[in-house]
């Protein structure tokens, strides 16, 4: 945090506030300037700039790292919506590079190969806000404790299989509802059980919701998938491989945006779902071996 001429920058309020501006929107993974234009034109509220979408990272294997800063800068120069980019879990220097080139949000992401299998980046030290993945409330509150200003489910990226994102969102929401009605004298034991700070658990009880914006991610492939996640309580949706690995990215992107805005209107989602061409080829998460799962990276 810095103060100049009475202006405070890098506060938690402005970091979490940008996530609030993204609510009700769709954040799309893009790997080229052309993709970024298509995403913005489709109504995306932000783009995630990266070299390979998760489906390709999964297929290629090897070590997945932060993208070339030149590519990210090109995308920043192309679109007027916020640009996010991913750093490896625990890779403080990749995060510093992304902050230095002016990205609007950093995703400390399990989709890339972790740089640290024990610790995450201390995100309070940055002026740029961070989003992190979670599978349950404890993981979400640990990331918030480290300074994350936005949370998303991990799901299972690059599969086009929504089942893990549903599991993670259900788990988080169920735990939030439990905390909301939990007697105060049970909160400490619950905080210990889920591995979160008592202060943040009390904050969840006071608010009756997650303390920051919570998006869905990891496996969204269709407008119906996106609307399902909104029904389960997501504030918005990330679509990784689902748009640019499909037959008609522009039409599918617009349809996913419409399904998120009008998730309570089945007729609108039906209309949006018509004639979109081939969806991305999916991989059932059940067919993936334990060591190839991305969601178990970082906890």
């Amino acid at each position: 945090m810095a103060v100049t001429n009475g202006k405070e920058t890098g506060t938690y309020q402005v970091k979490s506030g940008l996530a609030q501006m993204l609510k009700g929107g769709v954040i799309m993974d893009v790997v080229t300037v052309e993709h970024a234009r298509i995403a913005e034109d489709a109504g995306a509220c932000a783009v995630m700039a990266l070299e390979r979408v998760p489906a390709d990272i999964r297929a290629d294997g090897g070590v997945a790292r932060m993208s070339d800063p030149a590519l990210i800068e090109e995308i920043i120069a192309t679109v007027s919506i916020p640009v996010m980019a991913k750093c490896r879990i625990g890779h403080t220097v990749e995060a510093q590079i992304l902050e230095a080139i002016g990205v609007d949000y950093i995703d400390e992401s399990e989709v890339l190969t972790p740089a640290d299998e024990q610790y995450h980046v201390w995100k309070h030290d940055f002026k740029v806000p961070f989003v992190c993945g979670c599978r349950d409330l404890g993981e979400a509150l640990r990331r918030i404790g480290e300074g994350a200003a936005m949370i998303r489910t991990k799901g299972e990226a690059g599969t086009g299989d929504i089942v893990e994102a549903v599991r993670h969102m259900r788990t988080v929401m169920e735990q939030v509802r439990r905390v909301e009605v939990m007697p105060d004298d049970e909160l400490t034991a619950f905080a210990k059980e889920i591995g979160a700070s008592i202060e943040l658990v009390r904050e969840v009880k006071r608010l009756g919701r997650m303390p920051v914006v919570n998006f869905a991610a990891g496996g969204v492939a269709t407008p119906a998938d996106a609307a399902l996640m909104m029904h389960l309580g997501a504030d918005g949706v990330f679509v990784g491989s689902g748009i640019f690995k499909s037959g008609d990215p522009s039409a599918r992107g617009k349809a996913v945006v419409k399904a998120v805005t009008h998730y309570q209107d089945p007729a609108a989602i039906a209309e949006a779902s018509k004639g979109l061409g081939e969806p991305m080829v999916g991989i059932s998460t059940r067919s993936i071996s334990a060591e190839e799962l991305l969601a178990t990276r970082g906890s």
Partner: protein, 196 residues
């Protein structure tokens, strides 16, 4: 007695829930607006913070542009916060997205820089009792020029206009919906009460 008129909040994308919560805290009847039918049922409208490009695309995709213009021109109170201010403006420096062209001002998007330049500060708001307003600016637009019919309500220390009014139209470059100070929401509800 007729029911109190409802304040609508444009709910295409952005922090519309925060505005609805703020109005709810003041016991002002409020409803989300996603369609022209829903717009026809409210007496005033807030265009919230969010991504102005996304909101403009959705406005066009769902046929809301002309209904919104007609609503504002009929004299119904309309308040734009941040992205909402961009959309209500007459002109945008970057030329896109195409705004609704309602309030006589030229606006520059991300006028203070990128996210790392987003900031909070106190501003003096003309006619608002109770001291300065703590204002949160997120990738906020900057007012570059204003027309003679526009009344300036708040400026930063360097003179930059950050809140203004032209008749039934109110704009703020910052986000009163992100903090717990409800004075500006009460001020806007009063604009509707005067009209009703």
């Amino acid at each position: 007695m007729a029911p109190a008129p409802t304040v609508g909040v444009l709910a295409l994308q952005g922090d519309f829930e925060e505005h609805l919560d703020a109005l709810d805290a003041l016991d002002v009847p409020a409803a989300p607006v996603r369609t022209a039918d829903e717009l026809a049922r409210v007496g005033a409208l807030i265009v919230p913070g969010g991504e102005s490009t996304a909101m403009a695309k959705l406005m066009d995709a769902y046929g809301l542009r002309e209904p919104l213009r007609a609503f504002a021109r009929s004299g119904s109170p309309v308040w734009g916060t941040c992205a909402g201010m961009i959309l209500l403006a007459e002109r945008i420096v970057e030329g896109r997205p195409e705004p609704l062209g309602l309030i006589d001002m030229l606006v520059r998007r991300n006028g203070f820089g990128r996210q790392v330049d987003s900031f909070e500060t106190d501003v003096d708001f003309a006619g608002l009792d109770g001291g300065p307003f703590h204002a949160v600016f997120i990738r906020a637009p900057a007012v570059v020029e204003i027309g003679p019919a526009v009344e300036v309500l708040a400026r930063l220390d360097d003179g930059t206009v950050v809140a203004a009014r032209q008749g039934n139209l109110l704009v703020t470059a910052f986000h009163p919906e992100l903090t717990t100070d409800r004075r500006l929401h009460a001020h806007f509800a009063a604009m509707l009460a005067v009209r009703a």
